[in-house]
Symmetry: D2
Subunit: 92 residues, 4 copies
């Protein structure tokens, strides 16, 4: 993954960690359940955005290198990983 | 996409269409809401499985060809499409 | 579920069945994989909309009746079903 | 929400925050993209489990109280919120 994507992902994950700590505070303050759930859903969406960004960078670096390379097993491996990641997100 | 994947996808989609018609019948018979919802969720899962299978075949054919090819714009296009498909599945 | 929701759900599911048959035709015509996947995702979204509508009606009818009723076991049952349906949609 | 659910949710969210910090460390250590994505997906799943648990408790407390109560507007409000939460999770 390129440096820009990595720095951006770290920045966004720090924001998610802060968000989750904020949700813990909401629970400690006994805030309304639905408000807590909405914040958890927002944190899930933020995580999904980070995954997408990393996957996009991965496709343009490792996957491209592997597919342009000579090793069939390596090509197979990187492509299977993409399918597996996709399967996880589309389970339901 | 290879012939095997295509034939398999057609077969599975025919099964989904039959499943959806069965759900319509459940509604006409005034079946219990939760049972209907569970069948709809099962049909969604079946559709997700077909998408995964087509994506997997697409990666091994069109995407591999494009990445091994000489056209940067074409490589860019196929990779952007993968990210876009992934984004749709991971929205929430 | 009320008649309006039921009629609407049947109408929308007939549309989904037609959509799925259209996707089968796309595959038979050897259309581009990503276009096929996007149509499958659209069909999944349409199914999700039907589930939501049925769940909403279910909450306002069966669930409300059960919760206002005297049977604790019945209240427990309808609430567990809602959680189970929610679990399925939020698996990933 | 009952105390047990609240304490459990706080405990699990602290674990998620630790998990996210671990993923940041993975990025700083330049770990393989797919391994990072899988950990992000695991964190999303953990968050989904917390939402489910809170929703389940909410149904058994606030929602049950509102539905057994005399205010139609309040009943309407709590039921609409459940549908809205469900819609968010089932978007795709």
């Amino acid at each position: 993954m390129d440096e820009q994507t990595r720095a951006d992902a770290i920045h966004r994950l720090k924001s998610v960690a802060g968000h989750v700590n904020g949700i813990i505070k909401m629970l400690e303050d006994d805030r309304y359940c639905i408000d807590v759930i909405k914040q958890i859903q927002a944190a899930q969406t933020a995580l999904a955005r980070v995954s997408e960004s990393i996957l996009d960078a991965h496709l343009r670096t490792c996957v491209t290198t592997a597919i342009q390379g000579d090793e069939a097993a390596e090509r197979e491996r990187v492509l299977s990983e993409i399918t597996e990641v996709f399967r996880h997100t589309s389970r339901s």
